[in-house]
């Protein structure tokens, strides 16, 4: 079965650079979520989109922005990168209906800021 696809898997950037992470949800899933997982930490919710509209916002820095496109894929844009942004970034997708918001996660993008 198709899963959530994230690209790239690894990304190395320097301070003050920008980064774009991409997420392709499971086909027919209409909701996308972004999470940040620091070393030894649990995933922290950043932002979510339902039908291309922002549906919820968590602890996302102002330097970050995201959007969901007409094909339901989503991109997380990160500017003015800081060392503390080094983390594993997960995307998850779900479909509304009777599945009670079961979120399926991608393999993540590991961002290293040098």
């Amino acid at each position: 079965a198709a899963g959530v696809i994230q690209s790239p898997r690894h990304l190395i950037k320097e301070k003050r650079e920008t980064a774009t992470l991409k997420c392709y949800p499971i086909p027919r899933h209409d909701t996308v979520y972004w999470y940040q997982q620091g070393p030894g930490q649990d995933p922290q919710f950043l932002i979510s989109f339902y039908e291309k509209m922002q549906s919820d916002k968590g602890s996302i820095p102002d330097r970050f922005s995201a959007q969901q496109f007409s094909d339901y894929h989503s991109e997380l844009n990160m500017s003015s990168l800081e060392l503390g942004d080094s983390a594993l970034y997960f995307c998850a997708s779900s479909v509304t209906g009777n599945t009670k918001n079961i979120q399926y996660f991608g393999a993540g993008t590991r961002l290293s800021v040098l």
Binding site: P43, F45, S48, S55, Y104, F105, A107
Partner: protein
């Protein structure tokens, strides 16, 4: 407010021994409960879920969990672990508050010893 507590940050256990990973939650609304497993350098994989019905749920890889409403717990168990079960395990709750939200516990690192 909702919260998830995983009391054990690390659980060492010998191969073929039983294991229980504890998860307690606090919520003023109905929740759905999940366990995810994260192998080293990989994404989050859904292990099992409790949505409704039977309080004993079975998941992949021989794991099972029991929902106990009175004790607000959702402990994960396996009767006989393998080396390959070494991973980080996250308990999560989902609840509806305008949108569906997920909260993760801080994770339990299961280390299976030979």
């Amino acid at each position: 407010a909702q919260s998830v507590t995983q009391l054990d940050s690390q659980v060492p256990v010998f191969e073929e021994a039983p294991v229980e990973l504890r998860c307690n939650y606090s919520s003023s609304v109905s929740v759905y409960l999940f366990w995810y497993v994260q192998y080293p350098n990989q994404g989050l994989q859904l292990l099992l879920k409790y949505l409704s019905g039977s309080t004993l749920v079975k998941g992949i890889n021989g794991f099972e969990a029991e929902f106990n409403k009175s004790q607000t717990s959702f402990h994960l168990r396996k009767p006989s672990v393998h080396i390959s079960d070494t991973a980080e395990y996250f308990c999560a709750v989902s609840f509806y508050s305008g949108t569906y939200k997920y909260i993760f516990g801080t994770g339990t690192r299961l280390k299976v010893l030979a």
